[in-house]
């Protein structure tokens, strides 16, 4: 007790104790099938699901055509649609029939070519069409409308060229899509999904494993040892940090090799940004675990405050700019939002430093807030 050098147990930080916690935590991860499932199986399942199953593109959209006066012009117009990957034209005799099919959801839209289609084309160089789309899915309605209009214009300009006539269109729409020219939704969904997966590992898994220690009574025994709180927290952070980064690497590899998502930025930048995001998630997870001591509640809270917002409010599926203003404000509280910005830019646009730096700054701020809260809220006692 009266020695001059403090006994090892009295050191305020001991690498050996940290190592003990890290090793224990790693063994538990390896032996617990649910951690492995969340870290490695779930990412693969989610990526396959979103990579192959969910598509926000308009492809093979069934469109009904009602032609009042069929001739070679209407044939060639519908032929354009037939050859396009985006549409599957179906012929209807009357508008009434087509409307029935639309109501029955057999087709997504109706294009009606009136009897003066060819006449107008010949006399004015512009053939009017009547377009009805199902607006229930506003997103797809807008995409479909755009595609149909551009095919219409393309056809008219081609026809005009073939017939050697000038085209009388007051305004020409020329669409150029940057960064994702093929407009493949997979290209931005898959990188965004990586943010969701990391949130899951970082926040949810971490929150639940700390709660598990309370539930099983192991926490009480651990508290009455020389271990310091910072060693305990760090010992929990390190293995889950590695696990989360592993899940990230796996997801990036799948995005690149399995789904052919273009990767235009630097991997090193992505790695550091991911590390920063991972820390924010771990901070959130540990913070949740200081609030509750039940695994069930920890799971519920982390789904509510981390997983669902990462899904809905991060801009990964739903565009933040088209959300109500209040919800837009709310998205600023979602760490995944910043990381989705970063990772989508790195994948699709390259190292866009203003975006990367701005979002990293937000992440640093958020993780700092979480860790300050954790240190304030947790103490080595049962109260």
């Amino acid at each position: 007790m009266n020695e001059h050098t403090p006994a090892p147990t009295q050191q305020s930080f001991s690498p050996q104790r940290l190592k003990g916690i890290v090793r224990k935590e790693s063994l538990q991860i390896i032996r617990d099938p649910s951690s492995i499932a969340i870290a490695f199986v779930l990412p693969v399942v989610l990526l396959l699901l979103f990579g192959y199953g969910v598509s926000l593109d308009a492809k093979h959209v069934p469109i009904g055509f009602v032609v009042d006066n069929p001739d070679t012009n209407t044939q060639s117009f519908i032929g354009m649609f037939k050859h396009s990957d985006y549409f599957e034209p179906q012929r209807f005799i009357t508008t009434h029939e087509a409307k029935q099919a639309l109501k029955a959801r057999k087709i997504f839209g109706i294009v009606r070519l009136r009897s003066d289609f060819s006449d107008q084309l010949l006399s004015f160089g512009e053939a009017p069409i009547e377009l009805i789309v199902n607006g229930v899915d506003a997103n797809q309605a807008r995409i479909t409308e755009g595609y149909i209009l551009s095919i219409w214009q393309l056809w008219m300009s081609r026809t005009a060229q073939e017939q050697g006539k000038p085209l009388h269109i007051p305004i020409t729409i020329e669409q150029r899509v940057w960064f994702n020219p093929a407009l493949k939704s997979r290209n931005y969904l898959v990188p965004g999904l990586i943010a969701v997966i990391m949130t899951l590992i970082g926040a949810m898994l971490t929150a639940m494993v700390v709660a598990r220690e309370w539930e099983r009574g192991t926490m009480e025994a651990i508290l009455v040892t020389p271990v310091r709180l910072k060693e305990f927290l760090l010992g929990k952070l390190i293995p889950y940090f590695i696990l989360g980064m592993g899940g990230m690497l796996l997801s990036v590899a799948m995005a690149y090799w399995q789904f052919d998502v273009p990767f235009r930025g630097s991997f090193v930048v992505l790695f550091f940004a991911s590390a920063l995001f991972m820390l924010t998630c771990l901070g959130l997870g540990l913070f949740i675990s200081t609030i509750t001591r039940s695994q069930f509640v920890a799971g519920e809270i982390s789904i509510l405050v981390s997983f669902l917002p990462a899904f809905i409010l991060s801009g990964f599926i739903f565009d933040i700019n088209s959300m109500p203003v209040v919800i837009q404000w709310l998205t600023h509280l979602v760490p995944a939002r910043y990381f989705v910005d970063i990772i989508q830019s790195i994948f699709l646009a390259g190292n866009v430093w203003p975006i990367i730096l701005k979002n990293c700054a937000y992440l640093i701020l958020m993780s700092a807030v979480f860790f300050i809260l954790i240190i304030k809220k947790s103490h080595k006692s049962l109260e």
Partner: protein, 599 residues
């Protein structure tokens, strides 16, 4: 350390209370005490006395509202970390990682205590050989039996030689053989490493093995003395009674109602009597009971405990049975009424177990057990942790199908008609298995409905449960907030809602204090007298004496079946003319292990 005369623990005017929504619980009420170094100090008291709170406070896990606490010369309130670095602490729910092996658990504690790797091998060897766990180092802690888990928990607390070892009910739910081993480890550490031990226990016979005993009740200290001093106070107040004319249970019941009797307990073949006042002129006299022979006996520690607690009027919010004289009479009447109808010679077997086997994969949990239980019997299932009791029990209740053999309950084959058989069965699980977020009323409503009771009948049974188990005052309390003793009463009541013919009780008294245990057995005896058949598992060997007959099991096989008297008489020897049930149990288990391991 051994020579330090001063106390290792000093508490001055410590108070601690918890605030729950709507009420405040005073867990420690102005406590002052000293604990001497180099000895085992026992901490005993009924549930809710504040034992665990006190131990957590000493470990720096809780801060007192007021007062001073010094452990090993360190102020616990100011320097909790310093305390936590030098003591060994084993919480009630052992703090083991079930997904780590025995070795990995010990490595973790060695790391946390900064034990140099060079010193570990010898320390591990010592601890493993003491706890006889050397063959199991690579086994996952979760796959150890209950007794082995506790031994591992103790070994982990001892990896770094502590100056003070704090153990919170280390022997709860542990079979007698493992308990004996735990005590051997503690005693060995005491002698070889001069540590001090503070342990709480629900087993009062264990308190007798302590050097000093602190008796707590409702957050206060009732007494602190050596076990002998405690017993000394009971001088001339304890007697053994025996009557050829009456059954043990009946005699116990009659005696407990005699004026002047504080407590009457079945003690092997006799009734252990505790009188309210010392009887200095000869023996107490009970005129109404025929053929009674009485002689003085040495007081047990438990007698002092009961006497002290009964002397202190019990507040209503504790788990202790309030002795409701009116109710006592009611129960008495029901016993008198029915006892004549049920004779002990009934030959009708209500449970028939024939060569029952239960396999899990290639592991045989139960290997061909056979026995029969007669109507109105109390039949005990005893065995070390992992002996297959719970598996057998679940098969008898129809919760688990048998792999081979035949189980017949109330005339129904469980293989073909388990649902019909189940209607005759009441089951009380080992752990509190009612809905913790429902009130007493809601739980009773639910269980009565689940058993198919409706309308007037349901109202009657709920009212019966509330009266019989004195639950009225907690009617609208969430069962999670109930004192342990009340939880147990509620679970008991729920199992009886549909008036079953057969009652299965799986370790009903584990972790329950002696007063609540007495009350529990009083009810169980009354039920058996009224013709209900009771099957019970227990770790308390003295409780085995309440059984009419019992089976002792080890690793899935039967060691012995018979009445407690028969079994005990088998191990009568010159050194031990009156073997206790515990001696019998340990002798049986040890003879089995010797057969199994020819040396």
């Amino acid at each position: 350390m051994k020579n330090t005369p001063e106390a290792i623990i000093q508490l001055n005017n410590i108070s601690l209370s918890f605030t729950l929504p709507g009420r405040t619980i005073t867990a420690l009420d102005n406590i002052s005490l000293n604990v001497k170094a180099g000895q085992i100090t026992g901490l005993i008291g009924p549930d809710g006395a504040g034992k665990t709170t006190l131990m957590r406070l000493l470990s720096g896990l809780l801060k007192p509202d007021s007062g001073q606490a010094t452990v090993l010369g360190i102020d616990v309130v100011k320097n909790p970390q310093e305390i936590q670095s030098v003591i060994g602490y084993m919480p009630q729910r052992f703090g083991l990682y079930e997904d780590l092996t025995v070795q990995e658990n010990m490595d973790l504690y060695a790391d946390l205590h900064n034990i140099p790797v060079s010193q570990r091998a010898s320390r591990y060897e010592k601890l493993l050989s003491m706890s006889q766990m050397a063959p199991f180092t690579s086994r996952l802690a979760g796959k150890l039996s209950g007794g082995m888990k506790q031994k591992l928990g103790l070994a982990c607390a001892l990896v770094s030689p502590p100056r003070l070892l704090i153990l919170d009910e280390p022997t709860v739910g542990v079979d007698p053989v493992s308990r004996r081993e735990l005590w051997q480890i503690i005693n060995q550490m005491l002698q070889e490493e001069h540590i001090s031990v503070l342990m709480s226990t629900a087993y009062l016979d264990e308190a007798e093995r302590c050097d000093d005993v602190i008796l707590m009740h409702e957050g206060r200290i009732l007494d602190q003395a050596s076990p002998d001093d405690f017993s000394e106070k009971m001088h001339n107040r304890t007697f053994l009674a025996h009557s050829e004319a009456l059954s043990k249970r009946h005699l116990q019941f009659r005696l407990s109602r005699e004026p002047g009797v504080l407590d009457a307990l079945i003690d092997n073949d006799d009734i252990h009597l505790v009188m309210q006042e010392p009887v200095t002129d000869g023996l107490p006299v009970f005129k109404d009971i025929d053929n009674l022979t009485i002689h003085p006996t040495r007081p047990h520690f438990e007698d002092a405990f009961i006497a002290l607690l009964k002397k202190n009027p019990v507040a209503k919010n504790t788990s202790i049975a309030t002795t409701n004289s009116e109710n006592k009479d009611k129960t008495a009447l029901s016993i008198e009424d029915t006892s004549n109808n049920v004779s002990n010679d009934t030959t009708e077997s209500i449970i028939k177990v024939d060569k029952v086997v239960r396999r899990f994969g290639d592991f045989y949990a139960v290997k061909g057990i056979s026995f029969e239980v007669k109507k109105g019997e109390i039949f005990g299932l005893l065995g070390a942790n992992g002996a297959g009791k719970s598996t057998l029990f679940r098969m008898l209740c129809g919760l688990l199908p048998v792999s081979d053999g035949r189980v017949e309950v109330a005339g129904h084959n469980l293989r073909t008609a388990s649902a019909t058989a189940r209607a005759h069965i009441g089951y009380m699980a080992q752990r509190f298995s009612l809905y913790t977020n429902l009130t007493i009323k809601q739980n009773l409503m639910f269980f009565s409905k689940a058993y198919g009771l409706r309308g007037k009948k349901q109202q009657e049974r709920i009212q019966w449960a509330l009266d019989e188990f004195e639950l009225q005052e907690y009617l609208n309390t969430n069962s999670n907030d109930l004192p342990l003793g009340y939880k147990q009463r509620l679970a008991f009541a729920a199992a009886l809602m549909h008036e079953p013919d057969i009652l299965f009780l799986d370790e009903p008294t584990s972790g329950v204090d002696p007063l609540a245990r007495r009350e529990f057995w009083q009810r169980t005896n009354a039920l058996a007298e009224s013709g209900v058949t009771v099957l019970v598992t227990t770790h308390f060997m003295d409780e085995a004496n309440y059984c009419d007959r019992l089976i002792i099991m080890a690793s899935g096989t039967e060691l012995a079946t018979g009445s407690p008297e028969e079994l005990r008489s088998r191990f009568k020897s010159e050194q031990n003319p009156q073997p206790s049930m515990e001696d019998t149990f340990i002798a049986l288990v040890e003879s089995k292990t010797q057969q199994g391991q020819p040396s």
